[in-house]
Symmetry: D2
Subunit: 349 residues, 4 copies
Amino acid sequence: MYFASDNWAGAHPAIAESLVREATGYAAAYGTSDLDRRIEQRFNDIFERDVQVFFVGTGTAANSLSLAAVGRPGGVTFCHSEAHVVADECGAPEFLTSATRLYPVEGSAGKMNPDNLKAAIGRFPPGAVHQGRPMAVTMTQATEMGTVYSLDEIAVIGDIAKGARVPLHMDGARFANALVALDCTPAEMTWKRGVDILSFGGTKNGCWCAEAIVVMNPDLAADLPFLRKRSAQLFSKTRFISAQLEAYFEGDLWLELARTANSAADRLRSALASSNTSRIAWNTSSNEVFAVLDKAVAKKAEAEGARFYDWPVPAETPDMLGDNEVLVRLVTSFATTQADVDQFIDLLR
Amino acid sequence: MYFASDNWAGAHPAIAESLVREATGYAAAYGTSDLDRRIEQRFNDIFERDVQVFFVGTGTAANSLSLAAVGRPGGVTFCHSEAHVVADECGAPEFLTSATRLYPVEGSAGKMNPDNLKAAIGRFPPGAVHQGRPMAVTMTQATEMGTVYSLDEIAVIGDIAKGARVPLHMDGARFANALVALDCTPAEMTWKRGVDILSFGGTKNGCWCAEAIVVMNPDLAADLPFLRKRSAQLFSKTRFISAQLEAYFEGDLWLELARTANSAADRLRSALASSNTSRIAWNTSSNEVFAVLDKAVAKKAEAEGARFYDWPVPAETPDMLGDNEVLVRLVTSFATTQADVDQFIDLLR
Amino acid sequence: MYFASDNWAGAHPAIAESLVREATGYAAAYGTSDLDRRIEQRFNDIFERDVQVFFVGTGTAANSLSLAAVGRPGGVTFCHSEAHVVADECGAPEFLTSATRLYPVEGSAGKMNPDNLKAAIGRFPPGAVHQGRPMAVTMTQATEMGTVYSLDEIAVIGDIAKGARVPLHMDGARFANALVALDCTPAEMTWKRGVDILSFGGTKNGCWCAEAIVVMNPDLAADLPFLRKRSAQLFSKTRFISAQLEAYFEGDLWLELARTANSAADRLRSALASSNTSRIAWNTSSNEVFAVLDKAVAKKAEAEGARFYDWPVPAETPDMLGDNEVLVRLVTSFATTQADVDQFIDLLR
Amino acid sequence: MYFASDNWAGAHPAIAESLVREATGYAAAYGTSDLDRRIEQRFNDIFERDVQVFFVGTGTAANSLSLAAVGRPGGVTFCHSEAHVVADECGAPEFLTSATRLYPVEGSAGKMNPDNLKAAIGRFPPGAVHQGRPMAVTMTQATEMGTVYSLDEIAVIGDIAKGARVPLHMDGARFANALVALDCTPAEMTWKRGVDILSFGGTKNGCWCAEAIVVMNPDLAADLPFLRKRSAQLFSKTRFISAQLEAYFEGDLWLELARTANSAADRLRSALASSNTSRIAWNTSSNEVFAVLDKAVAKKAEAEGARFYDWPVPAETPDMLGDNEVLVRLVTSFATTQADVDQFIDLLR
């Protein structure tokens, strides 16, 4: 009953085995091996266009270097007020971009409200050197609150970014989970809706360590080879990432893993909907479930071995908890079994 | 006959298998799992003292964040003029330390000359704000030229650093190769000779991706958790590094792998010493061999499948090559077989 | 009728003349002249303790380097959501501190609400590497909204900073205006209420260009000589700042100039209070007045040569304007004459 | 007898008086006043083309922001090994460019040797991500050793920069002294010889504090408004710089001041040439003279009130001093009188 985070799971066996298979033999280093090239080509297929791919070691690196790629002095980056980039990355985006300011945009359900975004950008008239200048918009898909922007919602954000002449970045740490939730193609969820640059996350969905910056707009890729190396994110044995991704993409394993995680979350959501001790805190459609539990129930679950984190009550719904209630986050993963979920559900009764 | 670099090899089977073994189950993320703790303890044993260990993704990160840990505004870092930090890391040490200046110190055989080092430090009198101030000394062991500082030579550098009140960092991308070349303990090669902070490299010696900052002097570790996260080097599933290191250290596999690499280099050295077409360019004692080859021989070897890089003639020996000669670097690794070496040697006859 | 900003005025004649007087002769450069030393001593007298003083060229530099002096990787700085540091300095504080994050704290009348500040700091539990860690609190005195923190209010902020073990910085771009408004001593408004480091502004109050970082807590000054030089803020002919400050402090000219500015603002405030076409937008006590004007009146005033900026309606009072009204900022300065004010007041009738 | 540095002098009376004259009245802030515009136009006239001008506070800022304007991640800047940017600016160029590396190029007499420069650039083949990539060449005119690049020598450097597709920056802290030494026009010494961006120094030549970045190539100016503000170098009362430059340029005062300084240096040079106790260390043609003095003579001169700095013996001429000799630097300025020089010369007899 490990629902603390999808990064508590290890790696899918097929992915670990791929690392055994590729361990022998020699290959050119620093992203120039045949395997690296093959995986890059695979990204072209998946995104239905020529993209440029840069492997990096962490989601934080993918986000920060994506923003650095579009960086400019005095640049301001717009993000949701609770986005991972601003809340959980210890200033890495600011540091690795040589100090972009992250401008928090409010919005319910973890999504930037388009009107707020427009108003925020509007605070930076052209040429206003004191305030700085818009540099990028970054959105998280799936969001930190477990919700998923619809294709139309992405397009609205994309249009605002385009109107402001700044690129749109998508933090896809849980890209696959969002994708299967929307049941659409990667192209539809990205460049067809205005996304210019993507942090493509594999780690939370069954890899050991496989993140990539996917650049849809080739103009934005020019500095990335240098930005990546200068930020110490160019691995020598890059095929250890390629090897993971080879298995990840093989037979659409990645989508299957995301479906497994999302289904486990669905099962949790259903159980909570019919529980008389607990309830869904808000609707989510990815592999994160936020639940209001009776404190005694939560305590019992933990005593029985369930692992999850308490979660702060969102500012937008300050009164959501009753006296004896607690808000918790439950994250499922590729490794979550039906048995894990059912055992947990039993405890909620 | 792959002698291009030790990072062209993959991973040792035992290390790849360890990743399969640890792939299942759940573990706390971000360096807090039981396995992480166990490996940290292993470092204490290996270094015969309580050290602090920070896993990172690349040698460049280990070097840069080691220097950042001891960073100060206006700080100057002294290194050999051809050290990896200054010649091959695209400015990462400068960038990740918020702009230390790397001050090149000349010295033959890839080693800083102690007198030059003292003179260089002496150019920065205390309080001289225009020049900046000494911040660190960094040495590479084994060096970029395949040589190895003797224990006494390390101690001399250590004393100079101590006299200047700056910490001594060791870039140990090939730490194990140097260690078995000197046949000493890790403690003897580091803190017992004045090393305060170490980049401990596993990748070139049979891991996929396993580098660690080892802090001997605990005062220098205070900021590292934040420095590492802020530089996007804190992996979520850290046990993918721990799992590699578990196998790496098990039964002293790491020393065995380094001995394999060094022995293959010895065999190359011997063959070159008795060759009538080729010769050793300078003495080395790690897994790098620099050879002067007849151009025709070099060409033939490449045609037969040998892989190696041409190397620039060192400034200190400008006339080392005859008209039809070329200087090449031959790097052996844990994966180099006796047959590889013998096949290559045959080509030199 | 120049009310656009206090930096539209030039310099007080006594200050300009001082530059003529000191122009001849020779003096050691880079802050080491006798005059520099004398002015530093003057700061000790003014603040009733040994302080360390660093001249810099702009208020932005004073703020940014004050924060850099207390900087730490992953550091978060708490400021009012509309503070100059976050709203008007183009990311200089972030850039010159190597990427501190500025955490906006809401509060009415331009002052951080103490409960909000405590809650904001509380979001950063010790050791939480993902969020980053508190690094400083910075408050603006007088505030961007023309208000002035009372001595008790400063003490409350000071206690919160102390409780969180972070230093308290005061942005005193309008330090003198606040001081005469409170009718207290510099010591009472700073270190006696918990301020550790101060941006002391002279430029807006009659100097050409004279800003200083005043460090109350000597521990915080150690890196500043290097930080200042590394940020290109160490002037060679520092006595051009000292000479201005010599005249500025002579016979308490600085307080007289601030009283002149504040009195002019008082006169404006009184006139607005009794106007039937216009009104005070909110109470202020420094040299900034915010007024709600009838649009026709505003237009007429501008046509008659009055200069002032429109001001955005604060989020806390979204409905403050009637249909034909506009919010404007009126800033007085040492150079504002009674005649200027009266001419403007006439237009409001 | 103040020969310590040209920044020990104050300001020329005409320049100080200009600050008195402009002190009254109001003017738009932040570089937008009529006077600012007028001075910018004056630069167009002086350089015989439309240039873009950015006032900053220090020569270090002018140099650092010039390089930042042409900055790129992983960028390497080539400069003389003893250039001010690398030897005397505490890492400001590195810091304010987000970590360019300064690559030292040797050359006698303080000038980059063209062959060395070409060889240095040649170490960075296109696409070589590990080494980084060429970003700029910066030359100092007049040099730190008091010499002046001839127009042909500038053109040679300019051609090398152009061939390498990197911009050429000129550090003109002593621009006027070089200009009158060469007896040419500003255009001839800059863009007509390949200079793209210039640090135009006024401070050492009679201003209090007046430095400007002059951009010859408008493409390089796009980011500078933001770079300058972000580095805290945008003054509010910019007319305090414009007012200085107004007087500086009026009636070619600037050239007259430089001629005064250079003539005083000529007088020193002549006297040293005919002295029997002392001699010229190497030929210079600007306002810096390097002299080999008998130690007793040097001591006596200091006792009589002469001020100058000892200077390190250049690496290229290690044996230049006899046993009882010392190398000193003598800097003249706009304020140096014939009497000062003659009094000093008397001491050398």
